[in-house]
Symmetry: none
Subunit: 296 residues, 2 copies
């Protein structure tokens, strides 16, 4: 990434002038440069979700003779990178402070990656599968995550919203957080996310849910978390990080895996639901198809 790559820059600079299909192809190439040299054009096109001819058209649009020029360029980049690997690792001409920053960043990121990788232990995987089963069976899923855990709760809820209307996010202003549970019953499940320090309100609501007979799935940070005693299934994530703050990346990863598992229970239904959501948001003009011109 450090060395100049004229073709890459050319793609980026001409991106705005491309048609939607050309953009999709270009985006895929930009984001998966190695693949260009390693798979055939047809396969690349399939992975990028465009027609083979679009790849040829992209090459011509970039002023090249054909697709082979694109491949040749990327193959060259790989050759260069492989050979120049050692040289690249050498250059550490950064200022003191920047190096410190880079070092801290690297340590934090490596730590996070390791923590998420550690979630692949069999014990975790079993709990994930069990939790997904339980959530799939539930009539309704109430999602609870306060304070720092709000991000995880909301993300789970948001993704599930794309699949259907099964979840209720327990949140709201004016102390109405728990109101969603008013009509909850034993057929429902509460997905509660809480890490140390545990928000009192979360525990109280989980307790309430338990008394109402709801099943409880917990994402929490320790075997001795108060949620473990309340929950039918508890999935544990570490929250330690090489900084002042706890990390929520592993918890978020867990919630994403749960979403993935739930969607995987009925892939065709999930696909259909996603397409419906797409159409809806499209008709609402929610997403940008191009860089917005100046507002009038």
């Amino acid at each position: 990434m450090l060395q100049a790559d004229p073709l890459r820059e050319r793609i980026v600079s001409l991106f705005d002038a491309m048609s939607p299909q050309l953009r999709q192809a270009a985006r895929y190439i930009i984001e998966h440069p190695q693949e260009v040299a390693l798979v055939s054009m047809r396969e690349l096109a399939r992975n990028a979700g465009v027609q083979p001819s679009t790849m040829t058209r992209l090459a011509k649009f970039l002023g090249l003779a054909g697709y082979d020029d694109i491949r040749a360029n990327h193959a060259e980049a790989i050759r260069f990178r492989v050979d120049g690997f050692a040289a690249r690792a050498m250059q550490t001409d950064e200022s003191e402070e920047d190096m410190a920053a880079a070092q801290l960043s690297r340590r934090m990121l490596q730590g996070l990656a390791a923590q998420i990788a550690r979630l692949t232990e069999p014990a975790s995987l079993e709990r994930l599968a069990a939790a997904a089963d339980r959530l799939a069976q539930a009539r309704r899923i109430f999602v609870l995550g306060l304070r720092s855990c709000h991000s995880v709760a909301w993300h789970f809820h948001y993704v599930m919203t794309l699949l259907g209307e099964k979840t209720t996010h327990l949140d709201g202003p004016a102390d109405t957080v728990g109101d969603g549970l008013i009509r909850a019953s034993a057929e429902d499940v509460l997905l509660a996310i809480s890490i140390n320090p545990y928000a009192l309100h979360s525990l109280e609501l989980a307790q309430l849910a338990r008394e109402k007979g709801l099943g409880i799935i917990a994402i929490t940070d320790s075997e001795v978390s108060p949620l473990v005693g309340l929950a039918d299934i508890a999935i544990l994530c570490s929250t330690e990080s090489h900084s002042f703050f706890h990390t929520l990346a592993p918890a978020l990863a867990i919630s994403e895996v749960l979403c993935g598992l739930l969607a995987n229970k009925d892939r065709t239904a999930a696909l259909a639901a996603l397409q419906r959501a797409d159409r809806h948001l499209l008709s609402l003009n929610t997403y940008a198809t191009a860089i917005p011109r100046r507002r009038i």
Copy 2:
């Protein structure tokens, strides 16, 4: 060269048992591993000075189905070298309609871990450091993340709230999302988070901020994201996952690193701020010190 390569070892161990032509082919492959994946078999054979059929025969001699197995192996090695485990896990063999939950979970988690690990590339670290510097200089930080990116925006804001009152979260009901920018000026910075598909409103607000002279830091998913053109510094995160949905775990990791870097600028001040926040929340009885007894 560092990782174990079973095929390579097999070639070496069987080398003595090969015929002269087979040896010539094998030697060339051993000495030019990257070429195997980057050129066609016929060209490789020509460069190695053997017949095309010799390559096929070599593959069979090694106990493989055909030459494509050799190429696949070398392509995998390149992918591995370039970006760790990511590409390996990336292979989309969706042949198994309902993959075992454990397997899907493992693949998703490994993919996430690899994506976060890949953020430790020098280019990313530099951008992180630069972004942290810019954010530290700013008078005020406006945080913007809509829809799926809300979780990241909110988490950044929440953590920063523990450190002080520097951030404003651009969010709110009744279409008041952008109101926070009313008193924003050139001394301030906007931290905008948006991934494909890009929420139109996010781009419009970023545009507005730009016109008001704010600095813009972006967390986004591609070099060709519309935010890149608007931003002073763009930090890129991949969002692909082995499920139907995009992942936000790398984006969250980035935001956590930014928080960590900011706190690290003045460790004692950060510590003091955290203690103050602790005391405040303690006096409000926000956190549980024990498992809550039954509510009365």
